[in-house]
């Protein structure tokens, strides 16, 4: 998802009786549904895991500004321009809340940026795909924000207090984003001209499988899940969430008269779910390891913004320091 394949530092899940008394007390708090707060004791591995997960989520929000930012200057009406700009601004806000949540675990925003820039930390694979037409603004809002919601709604109950609270604020905005994206799709796919319908189907074709990949590898190949689930920093398995997403999205696509690019897609009366084709996991591994269509450009865009902003940040800090010194001198 926004945090895919977060490497777990634990050595697999220990049984309660094998834990040290401190670890055991901690696990029992989580099992009782208590929230862990920044000043509470926590195992090192829990802290490290959370930093990776929240950091990766935060990076996804700000790298995620880029594919949609790509269309702000080309939005077709003043209303769409304002809506898209407000949406991408929300994503910056999400990044900010999440970096703040990560800071409560003892890592600074600058350190996290540094790790993003040098490639030590990742962001969601989805943002390494290009946005090629205006219909992509519809597809991204509908599918990408939609998939994000699937993952983040349960995270509102995650064990770490600041993370859970950030999720509550973020989820409200994400559902608004999804509706906005879906509305773009309605305008184009249902009510639009032949050109617009073609754009909508094309966008759907390109984003369907990448959206499915957002939930991470299949459970049978997902090595990092068990410990995270025990700690309640991951609430559902990848496949559970993916299935839920497919089940909700397919009827929406039908309503839009869009064809899901999967010939094997079929409703299974027995299970009550849609059967669907797995995405190409080799492509996923390529994207994750740096070979997606936009990895290099996305990262470079972030690094360039950071580099070119350094004089501003330094100037502001220097001014703040001088002002503080004047105040001391005056006292």
């Amino acid at each position: 998802m926004y945090a895919q394949m977060v490497k777990s530092t634990g050595k697999g899940v220990q049984a309660l009786e094998d834990m040290s008394p401190q670890d055991r007390a901690f696990q029992e708090r989580i099992d009782r549904g208590e929230k862990i707060e920044p000043k509470d004791w926590m195992p090192d591995a829990y802290r490290k895991n959370l930093i990776r997960q929240i950091g990766q989520h935060a990076h996804s929000e700000i790298v995620g500004q880029l594919p949609e930012g790509n269309w702000i200057t080309r939005a077709p009406t003043l209303e769409r321009k304002a809506n898209l700009l407000a949406k991408v601004q929300d994503e910056a806000g999400h990044g900010l809340y999440l970096y703040c949540a990560a800071e409560t675990l003892g890592v600074s925003r600058d350190e996290l940026f540094e790790m993003l820039h040098c490639g030590k930390m990742k962001y969601s694979s989805i943002f390494n795909y290009p946005t090629l037409t205006w219909a992509d603004m519809g597809a991204v809002g509908w599918l990408v924000d939609g998939a994000a919601i699937m993952n983040q709604v349960p995270l509102q109950r995650t064990s770490y207090g600041p993370y859970a609270r950030a999720m509550v604020r973020i989820c409200k905005e994400e559902s608004f984003h999804q509706r906005q994206g879906y509305h773009i799709m309605i305008k184009m796919a249902k009510e639009g001209t032949a050109d617009q319908k073609r754009m909508a189907q094309d966008a759907f074709n390109r984003f369907w499988y990448p959206a499915l990949m957002m939930f991470g590898p299949s459970d049978k190949d997902s090595v990092h899940s068990a410990q995270s689930m025990a700690w309640k920093i991951k609430m559902n398995t990848n496949d559970e969430l993916r299935q839920k997403f497919v089940d909700e999205t397919v009827p929406q696509a039908k309503f839009l008269s869009l064809t899901v690019p999967d010939e094997r897609l079929m409703f299974n009366e027995e299970t009550g779910h849609y059967d669907y084709s797995e995405p190409d996991w080799n492509e996923f591994m390529d994207v994750i390891s740096g070979n997606g269509p936009c990895n290099t450009d996305r990262l470079e865009a972030r690094k360039k913004a950071w580099r070119e902003g350094s004089w501003v940040r330094e100037g502001m800090m220097a001014h703040a320091d001088k002002k503080a010194q004047c105040k001391i001198a005056a006292e």
């Binding site: 700000i62 500004q65 880029l66 930012g69 702000i72 200057t73 080309r74 939005a75 077709p76 009406t77 003043l78 209303e79 769409r80 321009k81 304002a82 700009l85 407000a86 991408v88 601004q89 910056a92 806000g93 990044g95 900010l96 970096y99 925003r109 205006w134 773009i184 305008k187 184009m188 009510e191 639009g192 001209t193 050109d195 617009q196 865009a301 360039k304 913004a305 070119e308 902003g309 350094s310 004089w311 501003v312 940040r313 330094e314 100037g315 502001m316 800090m317 220097a318 001014h319 703040a320 001088k322």
Partner: protein
């Protein structure tokens, strides 16, 4: 269109196009600002300006009475029909120029919109009353930022000085006094912009001296934007981008 209507239409385009073009320029920062807080603040400014555009151009379209909408005016006019001052359309270059421009504009907009609240035209007064609150907030922020970066480091000071040197010859165009301006003043719609120059200059000087920045010793002023006679080369590129979908798919709804 009667001459009187035409003057009002031109006046409204000048307000709307300033907001539209500056809003568009500012929106280009989204996702690549120097810090997350600045990114968010710039997007706020751009959003306010796009909102103001909708009000000004929406009213302009009504006054024109040609069955056009605010969107038609924004997306289907060519460069020579735009009435923004040239300063709005020059490229962002860096954060320094972007904020210096915002400051120069805000320092004018606050007293200007304050005056427009007393317009004899109720619609103008209402749009001004809404916009002036936003303009005050923009000014507070752009002023603080210009002072901070002028004072900050050697590099930030020299970048802000460069921005000032570049933008200074574009400031004079704000203070026009042409036929449209006089017509608006006679009808009590708006003061002649040139009458605000003293107030503007005093505010600018105060802030720039706090920022250790030196106003260029020249009164030369470029012009041609607010009349549409001669825009810069930059506007055509901006419109090519901004108008692409409306131009490529005539009549489509989005």
């Amino acid at each position: 269109m009667s001459e009187q209507t035409n003057h009002l239409f031109e006046f409204l385009l000048r307000q709307g196009d300033n907001a539209l073009v500056l809003g568009h320029r500012t929106s280009q920062w989204c996702g690549v600002g120097p810090a997350l807080e600045e990114d968010i603040a710039l997007a706020n400014t751009a959003l306010d300006l796009i909102g103001q555009t909708q009000l000004w151009l929406g009213y302009a379209a009504e006054v024109e009475g040609n069955n056009r909408s605010a969107n038609d005016l924004a997306f289907l006019r060519d460069a020579y029909d735009f009435r923004n001052i040239l300063m709005m359309e020059v490229p962002n270059e860096d954060f320094g120029r972007t904020l210096m421009r915002q400051f120069m504009f805000d320092t004018y907009q606050v007293p200007w919109l304050t005056e427009l609240q007393n317009s004899s035209n109720e619609r103008v007064a209402a749009i001004a009353a809404k916009s002036v609150k936003e303009a005050r907030y923009h000014l507070e922020r752009s002023r603080e930022t210009v002072i901070a970066l002028g004072d900050g480091t050697e590099e930030s000071n020299s970048r802000m000085q460069n921005a000032l040197d570049y933008l200074w010859p574009y400031c004079g165009e704000i203070f026009g006094a042409d036929e449209v301006d006089h017509a608006m003043s006679e009808q009590g719609v708006a003061p002649v912009p040139s009458t605000l120059k003293g107030t503007w200059r005093a505010c600018v000087e105060r802030a720039l001296s706090e920022a250790f920045l030196v106003i260029p010793n020249s009164e030369f002023a470029h012009s041609g934007g607010r009349t549409g006679f001669r825009h810069t080369e930059h506007l055509g590129h901006m419109l090519a981008t901004m108008q692409t979908l409306q131009r490529s798919y005539p009549g489509a709804e989005w």
